[in-house]
């Protein structure tokens, strides 16, 4: 794809300097496209022409179309004692972590109150809403992180302030962010308001409300064009949790199936068209949801690495189409990461193999809130 050159002044000027002396510029760009995350962003400091080329939006497009971008796990964590927020990215292939530039947010933000969503193939992740710990008031803010430039930028704020709400991206790469529910102006109430964000227009639009008093999110997932939100099981576990399903195309909500609601007992991940949960209690067994029977089944294979990966969990997944399965990442306390390879066996049943990516000692006081897989 052509990357536009700056207009050359009419007066005689020295020939434009090559990106890499000794190579024609189109080849030099091919070399830069092979730079992995996050070195591509760092290389902007080398020279003015590198800065221009590496920031160009077509650069990331080329990288994606040449299949040079790889999945990285971005983890939203906070210091257990100070609540200081820190984002970091893991290269699962090398086990190397990169700390991101500080996310712009108010000083006393309460980390779990935010909601995150991402458009993996565009290398973008969104952090929305949240709550100020001192005023306990929900926020409307929206920020985006772009892996290609390693930068945070502000977006138009949401219409309704929200904390502890559900967010998801429906419609894949060309898709929109849907945010639903959350805590109202004082934490004791909840809101049923739903809105939709179009990244191309940087605009929020109201969408069909959840009905009733809305819901505070325990967990949410997007599968097959629908966003599912559950309020989760609450101690003393006497009442089945409420759950709702949003159909993005039709802009309608309906009640979540009973089987799905009852068995949603942990953080969920979506691999392709399948939803899995990592059970919060016991041995943290992996379960897969069967939409035909509205029931959950245990996934065979390895035991979850309970000894190395402890709650609280944040989980995400990436599909591996050629392998007919995917990889599930479960981030635990201290940012230990359990990596589960999920495959569909010949008997039509899923099975999983677990490995652990040990975290650096420097992360031992961090606790995860959320994680997202981005291609960078």
């Amino acid at each position: 794809m052509p990357i536009p050159r700056p207009h050359q002044p009419a007066a005689s000027s020295p020939p434009p300097k090559l990106l890499i002396p000794g190579l024609p510029d189109d080849i030099a760009e091919l070399c830069l496209l092979h730079l992995p995350y996050p070195y591509q962003a760092l290389a902007r400091s080398v020279s003015s022409s590198w800065n221009r080329v590496l920031q160009d939006p077509t650069f990331l497009l080329s990288k994606t179309s040449l299949s040079l971008s790889l999945p990285y796990l971005f983890v939203f964590a906070f210091h257990k004692s100070t609540s200081r927020i820190q984002w970091q990215a893991l290269d699962p292939r090398s086990g190397r972590w990169f700390v991101l530039p500080t996310m712009p947010c108010p000083k006393s933000a309460c980390p779990p109150a935010f909601a995150c969503a991402s458009i993996p193939r565009q290398g973008k992740l969104f952090v929305l809403g949240g709550m100020c710990s001192d005023t306990k008031s929900p926020m409307r803010t929206a920020v985006v992180y772009q892996a290609s430039t390693n930068q945070w930028s502000d977006l138009s704020p949401m219409r309704t302030p929200r904390a502890f709400f559900a967010a998801g991206v429906v419609g894949g790469a060309g898709g929109r962010i849907v945010v639903a529910g959350g805590s109202g102006p004082d934490l004791s109430s909840s809101t049923g308001a739903v809105e939709c964000y179009d990244p191309r227009e940087d605009a929020w639009r109201e969408a069909a409300g959840m009905g009733g008093n809305g819901m505070v999110r325990y967990d949410s997932a997007v599968v097959g064009g629908r966003m599912y939100v559950t309020e989760g099981w609450m101690w003393p576990f006497m009442f089945t949790p409420r759950g709702a399903a949003y159909d993005a195309e039709g802009d309608t909500w309906r009640e979540m199936g009973a089987g799905m609601r009852e068995g949603w007992t942990g953080m969920s991940v979506v691999v392709g068209e399948r939803m899995f949960v990592i059970s919060e209690h016991g041995d943290h067994q992996l379960k897969v949801y069967d939409p035909d029977e509205d029931t959950w089944r245990y996934v065979g294979g390895d035991r979850f690495p309970c000894e190395e990966v402890h709650k609280p969990f944040a989980a995400s997944a990436v599909e591996e189409e050629e392998e007919e399965g995917g990889v599930i990442y479960v981030v635990g306390s201290g940012l230990q990461v359990g990596v589960g390879r999920v495959r569909l066996g010949k008997d039509g049943k899923f099975w999983v193999e677990w490995q652990v990516v040990a975290a650096p000692k420097a992360f031992q006081h961090l606790s995860p809130c959320d994680c997202q897989v981005l291609y960078a």
Binding site: M1, P2, I3, P4, R5, K17, L19, I20, P21, G22, L23, D25, D26, I27, E29, L30, C31, L32, L33, H34, L35, P36, P38, Y39, A41, L42, A43, R44, S45, V46, S47, S48, S49, W50, N51, S62, S65, L66, S67, Q88, R96, W97, F98, V99, L100, P101, T149, N150, Q151, P360, A362, F363
Partner: protein, 201 residues
């Protein structure tokens, strides 16, 4: 083998279209290679029943006039040579005035190695790593040869090795290694430095 119809790069393209062509050609070639690799792997499993054909050889002439022979099978990895073979222009020595003998010899070696059957992926990767374990100027020569001869696997390998040279170095070290002048205005430099402040474990 199935072919994707690809336009030959003409000499009179404007710079930006040439760049667009290179990138899109690279993409198409990568697709083609993976297609033909898949075909080859299904073919090689049944090749034991075919009678052995006499091995056709292509002669290449370097810029200094030195000649190098390469088996047609190996030469097919170069889109340029493949086109010439198809159009029956490969019966006389093919002049390659852009490529020195020293480099051409290595490129022939690369194509021969990658045309071998029965080499496991691990040892091929190790061989590739050794192949690009040379001075920068030599890697650049390989890149230019791979680009001219349109050998996508070699182009990919060499571009990746340049990227590996860049990765992990500070901007000052990168400028020194590649003899680049930074040419930032003070405001630009300040802005980039501010935006690029980060650390990693």
């Amino acid at each position: 083998m199935r072919y994707l119809a690809l336009p030959l790069l003409s000499q009179n393209l404007t710079e930006s279209t040439a760049r667009a062509q290179t990138l899109s050609l690279y993409l198409q070639l990568s697709l083609q290679v993976s297609l033909s690799q898949r075909n080859e792997s299904t073919m090689s499993s049944s090749s034991s029943s075919l009678p052995s054909c006499p091995k056709k050889v292509v002669t290449l002439k370097s810029s200094e006039g030195e000649t190098f022979e390469i088996e047609e099978i190996a030469a097919l990895q170069s889109k340029t040579l493949e086109n010439m073979i198809d159009e029956n222009c490969a019966d006389t020595p093919i002049p390659l005035p852009n490529i020195k003998g020293k480099i051409l010899a290595k490129v022939v070696e690369y194509c021969n190695k990658h045309a071998e059957v029965g080499v496991d992926a691990e040892s091929l990767r190790a061989w590739d790593a050794e192949f690009v374990n040379v001075e920068n100027t030599t890697v650049f020569d390989y890149i230019l040869a791979a680009n001219f001869l349109e050998i996508p696997t070699l182009l990919d390998l060499t571009c990746q090795s340049v990227a590996d040279m860049i990765k992990g170095k500070t901007p000052a070290e990168i400028e020194k290694t590649f003899n680049i002048k930074s040419a930032f205005t003070p405001e630009e430099e300040e802005q980039v430095r501010r935006e690029n402040q980060w650390a990693f474990e």
